[in-house]
Symmetry: D3
Subunit: 276 residues, 6 copies
Amino acid sequence: MPQLPSDKPFGRILLTGAGGNLGHQLRSALADWAGVVRISDIVPLSEAAPHEEVRLVDLSSREEVLQLVEGANAIVHLGGISVDAPFDDLVEANIRGTYNLYEAARKHGVKRIVFASSNHVTGFHPVTSVLDADAPQRPDSLYGVTKCFGESLSRYYYDRFQIETVCLRIGSSFEEPKNPRMLVTFLSYRDFIELVRCSLFTSRVGHAIVYGASDNATKWWDNSKAGFLGFRPRDSSVKFADRFPAIPVDTDCADPAQLFQGGAFVLGEPMYIDEQ
Amino acid sequence: MPQLPSDKPFGRILLTGAGGNLGHQLRSALADWAGVVRISDIVPLSEAAPHEEVRLVDLSSREEVLQLVEGANAIVHLGGISVDAPFDDLVEANIRGTYNLYEAARKHGVKRIVFASSNHVTGFHPVTSVLDADAPQRPDSLYGVTKCFGESLSRYYYDRFQIETVCLRIGSSFEEPKNPRMLVTFLSYRDFIELVRCSLFTSRVGHAIVYGASDNATKWWDNSKAGFLGFRPRDSSVKFADRFPAIPVDTDCADPAQLFQGGAFVLGEPMYIDEQ
Amino acid sequence: MPQLPSDKPFGRILLTGAGGNLGHQLRSALADWAGVVRISDIVPLSEAAPHEEVRLVDLSSREEVLQLVEGANAIVHLGGISVDAPFDDLVEANIRGTYNLYEAARKHGVKRIVFASSNHVTGFHPVTSVLDADAPQRPDSLYGVTKCFGESLSRYYYDRFQIETVCLRIGSSFEEPKNPRMLVTFLSYRDFIELVRCSLFTSRVGHAIVYGASDNATKWWDNSKAGFLGFRPRDSSVKFADRFPAIPVDTDCADPAQLFQGGAFVLGEPMYIDEQ
Amino acid sequence: MPQLPSDKPFGRILLTGAGGNLGHQLRSALADWAGVVRISDIVPLSEAAPHEEVRLVDLSSREEVLQLVEGANAIVHLGGISVDAPFDDLVEANIRGTYNLYEAARKHGVKRIVFASSNHVTGFHPVTSVLDADAPQRPDSLYGVTKCFGESLSRYYYDRFQIETVCLRIGSSFEEPKNPRMLVTFLSYRDFIELVRCSLFTSRVGHAIVYGASDNATKWWDNSKAGFLGFRPRDSSVKFADRFPAIPVDTDCADPAQLFQGGAFVLGEPMYIDEQ
Amino acid sequence: MPQLPSDKPFGRILLTGAGGNLGHQLRSALADWAGVVRISDIVPLSEAAPHEEVRLVDLSSREEVLQLVEGANAIVHLGGISVDAPFDDLVEANIRGTYNLYEAARKHGVKRIVFASSNHVTGFHPVTSVLDADAPQRPDSLYGVTKCFGESLSRYYYDRFQIETVCLRIGSSFEEPKNPRMLVTFLSYRDFIELVRCSLFTSRVGHAIVYGASDNATKWWDNSKAGFLGFRPRDSSVKFADRFPAIPVDTDCADPAQLFQGGAFVLGEPMYIDEQ
Amino acid sequence: MPQLPSDKPFGRILLTGAGGNLGHQLRSALADWAGVVRISDIVPLSEAAPHEEVRLVDLSSREEVLQLVEGANAIVHLGGISVDAPFDDLVEANIRGTYNLYEAARKHGVKRIVFASSNHVTGFHPVTSVLDADAPQRPDSLYGVTKCFGESLSRYYYDRFQIETVCLRIGSSFEEPKNPRMLVTFLSYRDFIELVRCSLFTSRVGHAIVYGASDNATKWWDNSKAGFLGFRPRDSSVKFADRFPAIPVDTDCADPAQLFQGGAFVLGEPMYIDEQ
């Protein structure tokens, strides 16, 4: 293992799911926060920089995860499946995988995890509601259900073992909004990175729930109960509003994807692997 | 009827109460949103522009209203009486008139109405409270009671017939504040128009309640539960603050008009027409 | 006018709607509480007992109501239309009629009114909710909307003129339940009379909202916020449960009358008189 | 398959986990409610009565569950693991098993499931709190986490597919309380059966959460928000109170099993199968 | 000191204010709960029974209180002034006295105190409200303010030193109700003793707030959030209702003593000793 | 006494505790708001300006305070002890002193007091909570308990005598933040003065509670319920953030001063004067 330099706030941060869209964004930012950045994914990652450790890991493997976590001071857990998928796949990646990660954290004494939950844990709330951290879960998909599991599990590890977690209910984090719904759910990369920074650097977070959205005009989520994280988005989807001109209201009102915050996710159907 | 051009979001918007203060402000803005703007009032309106249809209508007439609404895709209902008045007049204008409008909307398939409710539906809350959409109604006048009726009626048409309504609890929308109370309740014309725009263009609004106030320093109303409308005021009464210097607190504390949000409305008395 | 004997708590109580089902029940009970019981209806009533004054009154007539109220110390207002009806009829009976009554009360100094509101002011809440006095109104019919009006109006008369009102959101008050829904909404005559007694005899009631139901097993309504009224039902629909055997759950789930507390009311449609 | 007689409310009810403590209690009660009672467990069950169908089923097997559910009109799902256990076992029994059950219900058109959740989904709330259906989940064990999963999953199947579920957060259902904690959490067999009856026979339940406890003196749970189920416990732990004399308060206060509602569950530790 | 027999749940319980009305009631009950009952007052008490220790103590004396508390396992603190009084007297008895008691408890390791707070900490709530443990304090007198102090102080000692307190907001505990208000606030002696018993014998109470009232018909207070104490009143003021016949509502409405829960307390005025 | 000039909003404002840190800041600001500024402290103050009256006063002296308050139109009460201290000292300065001040205000007809409460009335809430005016008090020290007393007392004087108070729960008001905690609790001098200005100049405040913090990134307190005061901070601790670099999360988690909002205050211990 490379030596841990002393001039960064964290000795070693582990980033799972580093090969995905958001993992890619975060990879470089982590270099400023930790002497060593360990990154992992189930798919091969690009070559390690001098301060990086690259691991190819299947999160459903207890032994691999146990090794992966060793030596980390904090974890940003983006790994797993981030779209709807057959249940058996979700079980391995999001349920067993998340359990393996928390067990490894417990065994290695990691005290802080930033967990990529999802707005889809509340996606069956109507688009005419504004939710905060106390709104009941209403998952909009099996995927959302597995994210509820991650939130429950992390709550347990906090109450039982004092491992702190910030659950990020991420909206839509892309270069720019791709459809009208994303004008509401948009989280710019810059704001996403800031949200992770707040989650790692706030001295105590307990078990926190925060929605990840930029300062968009339309708001479905109210983060005021997470004010102790100090997260202030600096971007907004407003500048992209012209791309998605408003649709007359007399279009079909019965489309569930227009009625619920989860959008098209609410139309998915559970499936077994061989039913894909 | 004029043809409906295809390059505006709405084919035809109906504006009632177009001859009033706020109707006048909205009339020109609507031209950008709808191919045809139908405007009506019980008093004669100025000449129609090419994109306009002008109607002289008594809202208490079922037949007139039925004709008025035909062909509209959305309605901004400012019509009726907007100050305290004899009960019989209020019944005709604000109770029967609003009922006629919603019945006509139902019969003609209109799916969205922006209803000018009023801050006076909650005017008997003290000035030391901050209200949101869940605060109980406390009408401060018979006028306020009839606006409560409009809110109840529109709730019914939403639950029963899925006709969406945004109830605008408008503060004081004038060129500028006219008294100290209006420093709190001021809604600039620009912000009023923006509020109507959000109410018409948000794809789903359900049955929404939102207070209409600019971004004034003092706040009696908290719109965070209506965040899904995307309304962000851009003006403020702050620039007018100097006109109404603060009054020493040891002046008479027992004046109800100083104690309740409704101001002088709370001093009115119900009356029959012949008691005016 | 007969003399007011001094040995009853109230000198004179006025009961409107005395010819209806509940009025009939209450008529005899009132004899214990008031020296003079004035009863009125729009239809002829049976002959007056010695302690009674019988009046034939149209509530939509301002003058008739003004005379009716003169001399009363308290009012139990059951009058008006208690089922869905054409809007114009509801306006006269439930809107103008209630206004006339409150205006008359104000002019004659009456300080307490027991107002027969209805569970139909919240009938569009689902049958899987439990409501209390703070639940938002969700009227299930035009009839329900006019009862919302009565609640708003009485709130105004309390805030403005300190006339106290208890709004009774009566469930189904009959000899016995007539259908499965009434197992939940049943209010025995004895409990109804007790509820009116509490509403009249509690020394201060402010503007109170209380649901009228017996101590049935299934509960849609929670009266704990009205505990200051001291109302304790003594009857229950349990003894009638056998008449309405449970229906297998796999029957049609889409019937709105099964989904909402208002039952069949939610299927009604607004109408004008000539559309009956 | 045996014929479905027409004189019982349900044609066929499926009971999973029939071999357990509570399953045993329920087995005979079901005979009154359904023409055919299909019972299953992963361990052999006693011989079928004439109205019964006995199945040996592993809930983690998709095919077995699919067959098990066919023809059922309603399901009482007690199956799975009801104590803390290695994670992999819990995944198969409580996560995959519950998923298989709901998927089978969806495919076979079952519209009502009574799900044995547990008070351990909220076991990390202190014993000095009173919880209702809106209290946030605080699982006290991995077992509790998997019950949270079941609640989330059933919520999803309700929002997405209108399959109704009553989640029974069962306390301690035994012949009699076995320790001081059970004086609070005790649910008599008779009350348990009544709770299941209410859950099956209430015409609409949506997605309901109800705690299963008898009418014990000490209350940690408030079921008033589930009043629409009509559940009224008839038993109480009071008669057993003498067996567990009060302990002086100056005994050790730092024992977590005394501080949290979950009791000894909060002391468990997650484990893999080979760590048992 | 007498030996502590081992057959009572508590070794030694200290009762302050033993000479007052409620202290007198409790004195005999304590004999069943503790081997030694130490009783104190600022006025001489009747002769000690064999199991009793009698002390004459001024609570405002730090040294006397320190000695008084030594050896106690739990404290029932009824001492101090229980009516309105000059501020300086209240400071000594209720502020300095309560502080001395908690400091002595801390120094001697006492872990449980039952503190006689009062309904007068919320006496400025209107009689048309129902309060629970979360209702904001609204003291109705200087006396009430000093009871607020006791609640704040005990909260601090719980958060800081884990000394548990049950704050009893006692209503009117007498042989029988003495006026109409007491029909609502009545706490029978038997129920008072039961409330103290629950407060002492519940294994964990944290910092609890509970109103002390019997099961009277009219309810201003809702103890459901204190359900973990297991307190169930068995008496009711109903049997005394005839003594206080209802007063017609048209009597003077402006009497504050009729408007607020505190009754005549709200009419008191702060005073210095020499102003009595 | 100097004459009261007529061109300032207030004739005479009294400032207690003028010799302290915040008193010093406020002294000059008051010159703009009042014709005469009377300042007092228990320690000598610098020489009076022409518009000032300087008084040396011990707040625990009833007579001195009575004289001090005479002629004032409003009071800003910063006097008393603002750190933890022996109980007897706190009693004199913060309990008796505050009582003397309110009694004097009542006798001299002062109708508005701005009371320096403290964030330490809620300091035992965890740093992972966001509090508003309705959060329960959790004092973190005896000092905090005496500030709770001040809030209770002022509530009483409002309900009983209509003397209005704004309770300022001041965070950390210094030239700049001195430690990491103060990045959250920082209140710039400029914002402090603005907060006092709003508290004095809002025409009606009732009994208001507002936290005093600048617009810092991290927020423990939510002032939206005090929006009627019109307070908008203009400063932020963000510019000082670099001085307190984030600490890795794996440092000791068990330090109470890191866990609770009160910081080091939660570690203090009550003491008598001779125990200092």
